[in-house]
Symmetry: C2
Subunit: 190 residues, 2 copies
């Protein structure tokens, strides 16, 4: 998605450890009008695939998932990062390893909101090493539902997970694919 690449080049910042920050439009401040363009692009890329529900993970996936869901006309469910006493009934659980925070945490979805046979599309802001995406797929699998694909705003292809997942048969649609990233040399798209 050309406009997204331009936006990343214009507004993205590369931080220590060669981390890409897109806080100004995607995951701290949200440019909602721009997210609408992103949502429409996801809709286009998954056209012809029946989607019952969109699944994402709190917190930074929620904005893009909610805006995108308008075009699919389906509800969003977001996985929560810890089991809080705000969840009634039983939950599906899986584990994510966060390389940013260097620790593991559980994510949960109430069994009320994922059902056997449902076609679930995962939407998330980033795909790097794939830990969050695989954890979401596990929740869907636990429910007896089906992951029909993953719509990712920014994929870091050099971290390999997107390639592995495509080889395993998952339809992964990433709107910007970054092949190289460093403070020294900047951003190179695939």
């Amino acid at each position: 998605m050309e406009r997204l690449k331009q936006r990343i080049l214009a507004d993205g910042k590369i931080g220590e450890g060669d981390v890409l920050k897109v806080d100004s439009f995607l995951n701290h401040q949200i440019d909602v009008a721009f997210l609408c363009e992103i949502g429409k692009e996801f809709y286009k890329r998954f056209q012809g695939i029946h989607v019952d529900k969109i699944l994402t993970i709190e917190a930074s996936g929620i904005g893009v998932a909610a805006i995108t869901a308008q075009y699919f006309e389906v509800p969003v469910v977001f996985a929560k990062k810890t089991k809080t006493n705000n969840i009634y009934s039983d939950v599906y659980t899986s584990q994510v390893y966060s390389y940013t925070h260097q620790r593991s945490y559980d994510i949960v979805v109430s069994k009320e909101f994922l059902h056997p046979g449902e076609n679930v599309l995962i939407i998330d802001d980033f795909l790097a090493k794939g830990s969050a995406l695989r954890a979401l797929m596990k929740l869907i699998d636990s429910a007896g539902a089906h992951t029909v694909g993953a719509g990712i705003v920014i994929e870091k292809t050099y971290q390999g997970a997107g390639i592995d997942l495509r080889n395993e048969g998952l339809k992964v649609e990433s709107l910007a694919r970054i092949a190289k990233l460093s403070v020294k040399d900047g951003i190179e798209f695939l």
Copy 2:
């Protein structure tokens, strides 16, 4: 907002400690089409007031804030619950006491995303004792910006904060106002 009241009566659940759960459409599963109605209603209620930006708090405020922002045609900023290494520059900080989790936590907003003189509308899912709302107001105040009002999906009026804040001069628009709530007697709207 009559449709919201009906939805709360139909789908809300009252849990232990007389807590209202609206996980099925507002803060775990999100009924995006219904949130669009909510967003339009907020827009109507704050018509004539200049809004530069919408501020909310992760995680459950993000969905309603992002959808609402489409009608105001402004960006959303969401306060983050801890200082992570995903935030570059300096941040504004304030403290929230969570009665649900019985602990305090810090919320932060990067100084990049709140500016002196901006008119900021707060959007959140719940208003009970007002700790989160006052913490968001403090962030806005720290930036030298102006809180033009608060749009709340569900206010528990019996917990008093909404009344206090209105007495202090804040324009608080709550789409459903709950006067009484108990497992025994159910829900009574104001």
